[in-house]
Symmetry: C2
Subunit: 194 residues, 2 copies
């Protein structure tokens, strides 16, 4: 059980097992030499945290912090997945992370509206797969974190939300989002890049 701002672990911490998110939300980040924090990803209930952020000597290379009051359960390498080869589980987690980073890198090369639209489409899909409403949800992260994840500044994120609201694509009330025109959102998400 963690409260908003509590770290699940920090970069460099020894880390032997993984965690399964039961409730709440987390962000993972790395701090670069110049002190700037880069957000690598967000974790929601059902997500597995840990294996993909291991360093060679089994210490974490990212830091993970709770965005809300959250709850995790520890999953030993042997107990996860019910009989799945543990080596295979680590392998899959890391592969998943490589694909996710490649995708994130791809997002970085698109205009602001496309980036936010893609994020929202992905988030909506994640909601659906958890059994929640795909078109009505609350974002667990603030504008600043969302901006850092998307490679923008908070003001720009705010403006893009505003434009999507004006066009009737979204209804935005702080962190409460309602997708009014899912087709339009996916169309924007498919928009052009460099």
């Amino acid at each position: 059980m963690l409260r908003r701002g509590d770290h699940l672990f920090r970069s460099g911490d020894p880390l032997r097992d993984a965690f399964r998110v039961v409730g709440g939300a987390f962000k993972s980040y790395v701090v670069h030499l110049d002190g700037h924090e880069q957000i690598i990803g967000f974790y929601l209930p059902g997500d597995l945290i840990g294996y993909e952020s291991l360093d060679e000597n089994s210490s974490a290379f990212t830091s993970v912090v709770a965005l809300d009051t959250s709850c995790v359960v520890q999953e030993s390498i042997g107990t996860s997945g019910g009989g799945i080869d543990p080596e295979r589980l680590i392998y899959q987690s890391m592969r998943q992370e490589i694909l996710r980073l490649t995708r994130l890198l791809y997002m970085e090369r698109s205009c602001t509206e496309t980036r936010l639209a893609r994020f929202l489409v992905d988030f909506a899909e994640a909601q659906r797969s958890r059994g929640y409403d795909r078109h009505d949800f609350r974002l667990p992260m603030g504008r600043k974190d969302l901006a850092r994840y998307l490679g923008l500044v908070p003001e720009t994120v705010s403006r893009v939300f505003g434009r999507l609201r004006e066009r009737g694509v979204l209804s935005v009330d702080n962190n409460h989002i309602r997708i009014l025109d899912h087709a339009a959102l996916t169309a924007i998400a498919a928009g052009e890049d460099i």
Copy 2:
């Protein structure tokens, strides 16, 4: 032995072993849904290609193509590293790739000069570690590939080369680069971001 433009493998090809680059140079890329090609990385002599780009069912998810007349040797999972645990080798390759992508993502948030300077500093270091001159080398990739790697357009890359030349940091003759002021280059590479 491959010639310029030959593919070592393509996305989706079955891939069981890795390749060690003996001579020449390669680029790896993925093609996104919209048809745009994203360059993930470059490989030089000594580099290992393969383990980190495996898909779940042991097929490649990136494509790798020769930039020059190049030569590779196949390395089976058992023969690499001379007695090192093969699982560990795959694990290390993937971890290395995650770190590299995180770094690449970080580069994406910097201005053009910083990006190119970082690339050149890294390339110079790679040259040194191979026993070549750190301050005088030939880039194996064209402006277009370099631009796609850095998330820019070729014109911008050309302009940045021009500015660094004017400032006396580099000497640029097409793909032949000489670093005249290494200290200045590393200073630019450490420059600000968002």
